[in-house]
């Protein structure tokens, strides 16, 4: 089984970190993972993305071609990276994002990710961690245990509680869906 994920948003939202955390958690679960990203001079302020492939097998081709899951935290990112060609893909967008109803996407979720980070946790900067909680809550692609451990390991010391709260908020959002 191979899962391809695309996490997108704006430059400063920490989606590359999120991708790395997801991939490392998968490693801890005993799976394989590859993480790639695309960027350009436009990344200055514009849309950016991180992609992760998680698999039980060896991963040969490292680039995501048919994502099974797409996250988009901003309108720009959604416009650029929500690829409707695979209508079976799970697509999660922040509630601030408007998508035309004609996408034909079967599994589209609009979730107040940024709002949750800003108002529930009090720090918009943890929106990426909320999103991780949400994704893992919805899909179980990695174990919550290893996800938390990786989050703690990868992020600066002193932010443990904040990040645990953010993860939990993500899990909670997942439950509401």
């Amino acid at each position: 089984m191979q899962l391809e994920l695309r996490l997108s948003g704006s430059g400063g939202q920490g989606l590359i970190t999120a991708g790395i955390i997801l991939a490392e958690a998968a490693l801890a679960d005993g799976k394989n993972a590859v993480q790639t990203q695309s960027y350009g001079p436009e990344a200055r302020g514009g849309a950016s993305k991180a992609e992760v492939i998680i698999s039980d097998e060896i991963i040969d081709f490292p680039k995501v071609t048919r994502p099974n899951l797409i996250l988009a935290l901003t309108q720009d990112a959604a416009a650029k990276y929500v690829d409707a060609s695979n209508s079976d893909a799970m697509v999660i967008v922040d509630e601030s994002v408007e998508l035309s109803p004609e996408t034909g996407l079967k599994k589209l979720f609009r979730v107040p990710i940024i709002d949750t980070a800003r108002h529930e946790i009090g720090r918009e900067i943890v929106a990426n961690i909320v999103a991780l909680g949400l994704i893992v809550g919805l899909t179980q692609i990695v174990s919550q245990e290893n996800l938390e451990a990786t989050v703690i390991k990868r992020l600066p010391r002193g932010t443990e509680d904040l990040n645990r709260m953010a993860l939990q908020a993500g899990y909670d959002l997942a439950k509401q869906i």
């Binding site: 001079p41 436009e42 200055r44 302020g45």
Partner: protein, 271 residues
């Protein structure tokens, strides 16, 4: 309605530009256009040349003959443009890295020759485009991705370097001091020989973030509070000069311009 300066001198379909929020590059670019406007230059006779870098993306937005060259080589390409067609008003836009790191040799030689190019250095004390490595103007002790423990290099004073190389016009100003910037850029373009305006810029994204300098506004405020004209400074008591950075028109002298000398040689050989 549209921004009148943008409409007259910029390629509207290329805007908004790619620069980060609060990046000074847009401020300096606009100042160049205002100077051109005030001088009443014919757009067809203006050529803007740049190297590679965030700043060097400027020519793409400017509605003139525009040339985006290789990293560091803007002045060398511009020398060819100017000598081949001296009637062109050639303005070079170059970052601190582009102009004083990889391009340092072309800077000192263009200054030495006193060729009629105007160079505007967008000096943000960092390599913006490649993500925040230290540049030859990063202050000693400051951090950058390649100076994680603080930079041990001594920085260039680009204006002083150009003067040491023989520049006949050199001024320094900041992105905060837009009125003076307009004036210096105008004088620089009007100047007959080689001219340099070093525009101190802010890069909130890399330099600012790495060095906890705060937002673009805070960085601009720093410029406002720390830079004073050297002529003013000369009159201040030492304690008031403490901690101040100097700006102003440091040199402005007449000397024969290179392409004019060459044209004179051609004339001489005709007889």
């Amino acid at each position: 309605m549209n921004h009148p300066l943008a409409e007259s001198y910029f390629r509207m379909d290329k805007l908004p530009h790619i620069w980060c929020p609060g990046c000074s590059h847009g401020i300096i670019m606009a100042s160049i256009a205002r100077a051109i406007d005030r001088l009443g230059l014919d757009k067809d006779n203006v050529c803007i040349v740049s190297g590679i870098g965030c700043s060097s993306r400027a020519p793409g937005y400017m509605d003139f003959n525009t040339l985006h060259t290789t990293h560091g080589r803007a002045l060398a390409f511009a020398t060819g443009v100017k000598l081949a067609n001296p009637k062109l008003e050639v303005i070079v836009i170059s970052g601190d890295g582009d102009l004083s790191a990889i391009g340092g040799n072309h800077l000192i030689h263009a200054a030495r020759r006193n060729i009629g190019l105007t160079t505007i250095c967008f000096n943000n004390n960092i390599y913006g485009m490649t993500g925040g490595q230290y540049s030859p103007t990063t202050p000693t002790g400051d951090k950058a991705t390649t100076a994680p423990y603080g930079n041990i290099d001594k920085p260039f004073d680009i204006t002083k370097l150009a003067i040491g190389a023989g520049a006949t016009y050199a001024a320094k100003v900041t992105a905060f001091h837009v009125t003076q910037m307009d004036k210096y850029i105008e004088s620089a373009i009007a100047h007959k020989g080689f001219s340099l305006v070093e525009a101190i810029a802010v890069c909130p994204t890399y330099y600012g973030r790495k060095n906890r300098k705060g937002s673009a506004v805070e960085m601009m405020t720093w410029l406002k509070d720390h830079y004073i004209d050297f002529k003013v400074a000369e009159k201040l008591p030492p304690e008031k000069r403490e901690g101040k950075e100097l700006m102003g028109e440091f040199i402005n002298v007449d000397a024969p311009e290179y392409t004019a000398l060459y044209d004179a040689l051609i004339d001489r050989l005709k007889d």
